[in-house]
Amino acid sequence: MTFLSPWRLARLTVRPSEAGEHLAAATPEAHDVILRLVLPLSVVPPALAWIGGATFGWRLGGGEPLYIPAGGLALISLAYFVALVTGFVSTALVASWMAGTYGARREFGAHLAFVALVGMPAILASVAHLAPHAFVNMLLLIPALIWCLYLLYRCLPAALGTTPEQGILMASSVVAYVLVAFVSLLGITVVLWSGGIGPSLGV
């Protein structure tokens, strides 16, 4: 499949109609998508976060930069990688589980490819992690997330074979799932950290 490479997929993020057509015409195997798209894409943000954190240190406000010890940084990056892979795969699983309700195609591989496309802008914007400052990250990631949402609503009908109206409904359900998954991630992170797994907290 032509789009099963991170570079081609990145180009497609700025050509939504082409992206929709490519995905509609393809029936990728799930393992192909995971090996050639999901895993490589999920490596990028954690790697950049590791480099930025180790080289420049995290900055909060006007204080001194904070250097998390190398072991801690590696652990955070590993957890970040796992979270991203889980995010991609679980979103595709939920989407294919919902497919029947919205008249969409059911192939798991197609859903994985679509989710990879939708997440691509955020992956690209994670270059902001090289500058570990909250403000810079927000400046780049927020517009990227807006683009992700745009791709979700714009390309879903073509990519997954629904009518435009079913597409809006399904996209909204995917948004609901992603929000719930993200907030769960916040909750789990917080529980782990306050339980002692992570930087020390005085609870």
């Binding site: 406000g61 006007g62 907290l201 005085g202 609870v203």
Partner: protein
Amino acid sequence: MNAVDLHRRLERHSGLLIFGILFVSAIGGLVQVLPSVLDDRLATPGPDVKPYGPVELTGRDIYIRESCGTCHSQQVRPLLAEVRRYGAFSRADEFAFDRPFLWGSKRTGPDLHRIGGRYSDVWHRLHLLDPRAVVPDSIMPAYPWLGERAADAEGDIQAKMRALRLLGHPYTDADIEAAPAALEGLTEVDALVAYLQGLGTSTGGDTR
């Protein structure tokens, strides 16, 4: 009659439905809230917890009027980091005379329960009249009008203390008589500073 049948009866009879809603929604309050309201241990002041004097009471009411509790909490939680940052954690017996309670639900600014005695009166006055004079990055609003108004401008301190006495605060007649004199010559910022300086200074014992 199973549950669905019971419901079908309720939905055909508005009186039963109203009663059903009231009954079901009252249970939680009866189990959780009522025992707490009747539990004297939650209302008994600690050994050295006193009702607010006229100046502190005036200051507290200014704190309420300006909604300081919107940004500042008064509740140090029993967590290691919190106790390190603010001092001893807050106990129920310290709040017996707090009407209403001012524990807050947001810390845009720091917790204030143990602020008493931490900063000088001068610091507090400067800070309240213009926060950025002492904390350049502060986003707290300035309260210049507090320095311009008399503490007893409303003239209602005796009425307030009488109302609180009705609610069980142990004020004597002498206390109430002397109240206006205590406020004479003071501005609102003086009263507020007095309130802040008294916060959390009781050491108290264990009332459990």
